[in-house]
């Protein structure tokens, strides 16, 4: 852990509080208004929000710009997501220094989905660095004021770097080694991919042992059947429980929009109450809510833990 604490997120961690983070997705658009609004809606519910960087390689508005805007206009601390898919180490360094100037205090260092998975599959993938070496580079910039080649950086930024973990990884042992490697390389917090099953979580924590950094477990209360189905089908290492999926599917038959919303909320509260009760007894330091566009569910779920 870095000696100094620069962000509200890490201050909360220091205090030993149960952490809630949220997620915002800039769109393929020349505007960030909707993201800023979503950040405002999440204000008070989460301590900081991840701002996604062209998730699944669907190119969207810059995560750095959106991260800056939510801090400035919504007063929401950002966890700026930065992928290696699209930038070499020079561009990554530029963006990290730029982020410091824009007041960004947290970066989540990601490898990024392969460009072939996105909406621009003919793009040349970069991957000059990976999540581990990007983490290492950011720490080197912040702690030593040097880049990867050892060149001096004047007035280095003050920020924290986190990395991702995948509890549902097909080869969990290999994943655990990677997470430990990222922590060794300097990751100060871990946010995980979405988990639905308590047993997946238990195996993950068992495999990791004492990691020495806070782990925020990703959850995804789906605001519709379609959203849950997408996660189940499209995201590697995430299994949405069939019963939960079936319950959500049934809500499609409810004609009245408000009643349907109520039923979806009820299903989510019911499912995640059990899950969060379980999570409280694990070493998790908090929860990363990927409930994009579904802020109304958050207070309900927070009640379970508090």
């Amino acid at each position: 852990m870095a000696k100094e604490v620069y962000s509200e997120l890490m201050k909360e961690v220091e205090k030993g509080k149960f952490i809630w983070t949220g997620e915002l997705e800039p769109e393929k658009a020349g505007s960030v208004e909707s993201v800023v609004q979503a950040a405002k809606d999440l204000k008070g519910h989460v301590i900081a929000c991840n701002v996604t960087d062209s998730p699944q390689s669907f190119a969207t508005l810059s995560s750095l710009v959106a991260a800056y805007k939510i801090q400035e206009e919504a007063g929401m601390e950002a966890i700026y997501q930065l992928r290696c898919s699209d930038r070499n180490r020079i561009a990554l360094l530029s963006d990290v220094l730029g982020a410091g100037v824009m007041g960004i205090k947290n970066i989540l260092a990601l490898t990024g989905d392969h460009v072939a998975l996105g909406d621009t599959p003919d793009a040349k993938p970069v991957y000059d660095l990976d999540s581990t070496t990007l983490t290492y580079m950011i720490r080197k910039i912040v702690d030593e004021g040097k880049d990867l080649a050892g060149n001096e950086i004047a007035e280095p930024p003050k920020m924290h770097v986190g990395a991702a973990g995948a509890p549902g990884a097909a080869v969990l042992q290999a994943e655990a080694y990677k997470v430990k490697r990222k922590v060794k390389a300097g990751a100060e917090f871990i946010q995980t991919q979405v988990v639905y099953l308590p047993e997946v979580l238990d195996k993950f924590f068992k495999e990791l042992g004492d990691l020495g950094v806070p782990i925020l477990v990703g959850i995804f209360p789906a605001k519709s059947y379609g959203a849950a189905k997408f996660f189940d089908e499209a995201v590697a290492g995430v299994d949405v429980p069939p019963d939960y999926l079936k319950d959500l599917e049934k809500t499609k038959e409810i004609k009245d929009k408000e009643k349907r919303k109520e039923e979806v909320d009820r299903i989510n509260v019911e499912y995640f109450t059990g899950f969060l009760e379980h999570l409280k007894d694990t070493p998790a330091a908090g929860c990363h809510m990927m409930a994009v566009g579904y802020p109304r569910i958050i207070p309900e779920l927070k009640k379970v833990v508090e």
């Binding site: 490898t111 097909a170 080869v171 990677k178 490697r181 590697a236």
Partner: protein
């Protein structure tokens, strides 16, 4: 070996549109191996082009003489100087290396400015066989194999990650980019486990040094190979290859002996 396949005939005919006299040149190296530039391939190409009303001169290179080894292949170019001089285009049935080495020789040594076209798509270095081949080395100039259990993630990993696996490993250990391809990092993990060296996975591997990959790369050796000496010196090896017992993997041999 440089893997390659012939381009669609429509594409080749597109290049040759309006060109009447064609020189079709093969290659006795990789292109013979992949049957895209051997004697049969050149003959078939000539036949197809003749059917399209073109006049074709064939340059067939014998096995072992590659188009890209210009000190050898140039003998065949010089022998066909007249046909090349009078042709409208040269179609080279080799990898892109061969096409360009020939093009350069025509330009610089023979003083002939000719349209030179590729007949094949080359797909880089591969190993394996006899029917299935795989790219495992991209010749990056800074070999990382000693650090990663003898599997190159720069080539075998869909993302070329020095530190994997990424979060995209499929349920069956395949790659997110292609359900047919193994995740290189799962393979590395499995190998290190067998070797009892899993602790190596806790260490970060530094970013790859791409400075050795400044293109185009050039390469010099002090003196060229002495063909005569090499061929004669290889005879004992060929004899033992010819006399070899039917192949039995060592561990099976041992099991039989026990």
């Amino acid at each position: 070996m440089i893997a390659q396949e012939q381009k669609p005939m429509e594409e080749i005919l597109g290049y040759l549109e309006g060109k009447q006299k064609i020189v079709a040149m093969g290659c006795g190296g990789c292109a013979t191996f992949y049957q895209t530039g051997d004697k049969k391939a050149v003959n078939e190409m000539a036949e197809k082009l003749t059917k399209e009303g073109k006049e074709v001169t064939k340059i067939i290179l014998p096995l072992g003489i590659s188009a890209c080894e210009i000190d050898l292949s140039s003998v065949f170019l010089e022998k066909n100087r007249r046909a090349i001089e009078s042709c409208d285009a040269v179609l080279v049935q080799s990898c892109g290396e061969g096409v360009q080495v020939v093009r350069e020789y025509l330009d610089d040594k023979m003083g002939l400015a000719k349209s030179v076209y590729p007949a094949n798509n080359s797909m880089g270095n591969v190993g394996g066989g006899p029917t299935d081949f795989k790219e495992t080395c991209q010749g990056c100039g800074e070999c990382e194999l000693g650090k990663i259990a003898g599997i190159c993630p720069l080539t075998a990993c869909g993302k070329g990650l020095m530190n994997g696996p990424c979060g995209g490993v499929r349920e069956d250990g395949k790659c997110e980019t292609d359900p047919e391809k193994d995740c290189a990092w799962v393979k590395i993990y499995e190998r290190l486990e067998k070797l009892g060296e899993l602790d190596k996975l806790l260490e970060m591997r530094e970013p790859h040094a791409w400075s050795k990959m400044k293109r185009p790369r050039t390469f010099k050796i002090e003196k060229p190979i002495s063909l005569g000496r090499t061929i004669f010196g290889s005879i004992p090896g060929y004899v033992s290859f010819g006399l070899r017992k039917p192949f039995t993997p060592r561990h099976e041999e041992k099991a039989e002996g026990e």
